[in-house]
């Protein structure tokens, strides 16, 4: 299914190979209304595997709401969401996350009174101590899982150059570091599709480039990413395709270069 099917006319993906790829995620005619406010209206799009798909648009375009609907944080008012061939529309957020559909948030959402390492461990699945029964059976029952996951988390901390902060409370980190913690935390779930909601907003410029590098490296390792972002130069560098939303609907898609050629998109968002 092409991005942004009826009623909005959508341009074909520019600069993409014609070979058919099976989408990892298909959103079909998804809407989300709040008491009559149409935050997301009849949005359809595919997310192809192994790519970073950009989702851009002016403030209030419905990007974050759409991301929340995809992740199950908000239920869809109508439409269907298919993830890896399965209809996940009715699944709550935690079940979608367990299937590998994991999101981060527009505002920092670290677990402030947990250390950085604990933030990562809290997201890790498959720990025998992560149930009341397992907890009551004592540390010997779950220590092997915990040790394995601590090692896995420390590898991530090394990779994101955050090892020195592992015992710091997450609330004490800078804005950029909190973003990195959120990404690492999501990676602990070994996601198949990572939904990143403005990971570069409010972040020091030096970390913006770092986050982009990490995203590209993760993509090269096969992770699929749907990225909502306002840093257009980063979107241009990392994303293909890029989907543009305005007033709750998709108004176009393609490469950034191709989108810059479309007058209505420039008028709606890409001013300048």
């Amino acid at each position: 299914m092409p991005v942004g099917t009826d009623p909005v006319a959508v341009t074909p993906v520019a600069g993409q190979p014609a070979a058919a790829e099976r989408p990892l995620l298909v959103a079909s005619h998804v809407s989300r209304h709040f008491e009559g406010v149409r935050a997301v209206e009849d949005v359809s799009m595919d997310v192809l595997p192994g790519r970073i798909t950009g989702l851009i648009g002016p403030n209030g375009a419905g990007k974050s709401t759409f991301l929340a609907v995809l992740a199950g944080t908000l239920p869809a008012s109508s439409g269907t969401i298919t993830f890896d061939g399965d209809d996940v529309t009715a699944l709550p957020a935690f079940k979608r996350a367990r299937r590998g559909l994991v999101r981060t948030f527009q505002l920092p959402s670290e677990f402030g009174q947990l250390t950085v390492l604990e933030n990562l461990l809290s997201a890790a699945p498959n720990n025998r101590g992560d149930s009341l029964g397992g907890a009551l059976l004592g540390k010997r029952y779950w220590k092997a899982d915990e040790d394995r996951l601590v090692e896995q988390a420390r590898i991530l901390l090394d990779r994101f150059r955050m090892s020195a902060k592992e015992s710091d409370y997450a609330s004490s980190l800078s804005g950029g570091q909190k973003r990195l913690v959120e990404i690492m935390r999501a990676l602990m779930l070994e996601p198949r599709l990572l939904l990143l909601d403005e990971p570069m907003s409010g972040v020091h410029p030096s970390i913006v480039g770092e986050i982009a590098d990490y995203c590209e490296a993760l993509r090269d390792e096969g992770l699929t990413i749907l990225l909502v972002e306002h840093e257009l130069h980063m979107i241009e560098r990392m994303c293909n395709p890029v989907v543009v939303m305005a007033q709750g609907s998709v108004i176009g898609q393609g490469t950034m270069t191709a989108l810059r050629q479309q007058r209505e998109i420039v008028d709606a968002y890409l001013v300048g």
């Binding site: 709550p92 397992g134 907890a135 779930l189």
Partner: protein, 329 residues
């Protein structure tokens, strides 16, 4: 003197149990259970009506259901179970859909409703007069007024408090406890990371309910009476004050808070010389409890013994061949 000391110590054990339960629910998991006292009351009433003979046995001066005259420890086990079983219906109504501030209001309302229902249905659990002459555990085999019995009862209560303390330690130091803390910090984010928030909250709600039920059984077995006046909703606030003062999310803090506020503070006011009109000192106690909560939330919100930071053992450093200390330590 023995009676005074054992009474203080049994109350200490009961308050420690209650504070541990509230610390698990509120301190660790962020559930503001303002209906906590009804779980303790449910345990106490259960233990009472299962220990008491039929209500016709004592000349019918009090009315209540059941009256099964069961032997110890069955009433205490049943009290623990009832405390646990009361949690799912309340939890399903309150925890599933409401935000935490609305949860607190709903819990408070439930507490008031429960008190009014029991007070106004005398045939159910004795009404406003409550239940009295509740048989003490094993009182058919031992003299419940002897010093030995009082000390044995006290020791039993304290042992149970210690056992529950270790259970609570296992919970908060486990990955499950970490998930509860993550939920407390940011429920939406925790759900997006695969945490089943309802199941997590429900399990800790059940555990807290069971501990509360047990604490009620211990208390009613010692004081032998139970009435709505002993479990009015402000009692929950005293326990919350204790956990806030001691340190929420830290079991040692919960114990310290229990010893400082419901036990220490209330005992200390007992020795004040009488002044002012009757009822002034108890009223001032409430003012002080409110002041304690506000003062700690303002100046030391994490309590005397804050939740401790979890630091994991450093990973072993790689041994570099040829270094003078290679392979040592």
């Amino acid at each position: 003197m023995t009676y005074y000391l054992t009474t203080v110590l049994v109350y200490a054990a009961v308050d420690i149990l209650a504070c541990l339960a509230i610390s698990l629910q509120f301190g660790v998991s962020g559930i503001v259970n303002f209906s906590f006292i009804i779980f303790q009351a449910a345990g106490a009433y259960t233990a009472a009506v299962l220990s008491l003979p039929r209500d016709t046995a004592n000349g019918g001066f009090q009315t209540y259901i059941l009256g099964l005259n069961l032997s110890f420890p069955l009433p205490w086990i049943a009290a623990t179970l009832v405390g646990a079983l009361l949690a799912p219906p309340i939890g399903l109504v309150v925890l599933r859909r409401l935000r935490s501030d609305y949860q607190a209001i709903a819990m408070l309302v439930l507490s008031v409703i429960a008190s009014l229902v029991v007070t106004n249905t005398p045939a159910f659990l004795g009404g406003a007069a409550g239940l009295s002459l509740v048989p003490q555990p094993l009182s058919d085999k031992f003299n419940p007024y002897s010093d030995g019995y009082l000390w044995a009862y006290t020791a039993g209560a304290l042992v149970l408090a210690v056992v529950v303390f270790f259970i609570a330690q296992r919970i908060i130091n486990s990955p499950y406890g970490r998930s509860l803390r993550a939920l407390r910090e940011n429920e939406v984010a925790a759900k997006a990371l695969g945490k089943n928030a309802v199941a997590l909250k429900m399990t800790v709600f059940v555990v807290g309910g069971a501990i509360a039920g047990l604490s009620g059984a211990i208390l009613v077995g010692f004081i032998t009476t139970w009435a709505p006046s002993t479990w009015l909703y402000p009692e929950t606030l005293i326990l919350f004050a204790a956990v806030i003062v001691g340190g929420r999310g830290n079991n040692f803090g919960a114990v310290l808070g229990a010893l400082l506020v419901p036990v220490g503070f209330e005992e200390a006011t007992r020795y004040l010389p009488p002044f002012g009109p009757p009822g002034l000192i108890p009223a001032l106690e409430w003012v002080c409890i409110g002041g304690l909560i506000l003062g700690f939330l303002w100046f030391r919100p994490r309590g005397v013994l804050p939740e401790r930071r979890r630091v994991f053992a450093a990973r072993p450093q790689p041994v570099v061949a040829g270094e003078p200390n290679a392979g040592r330590d």
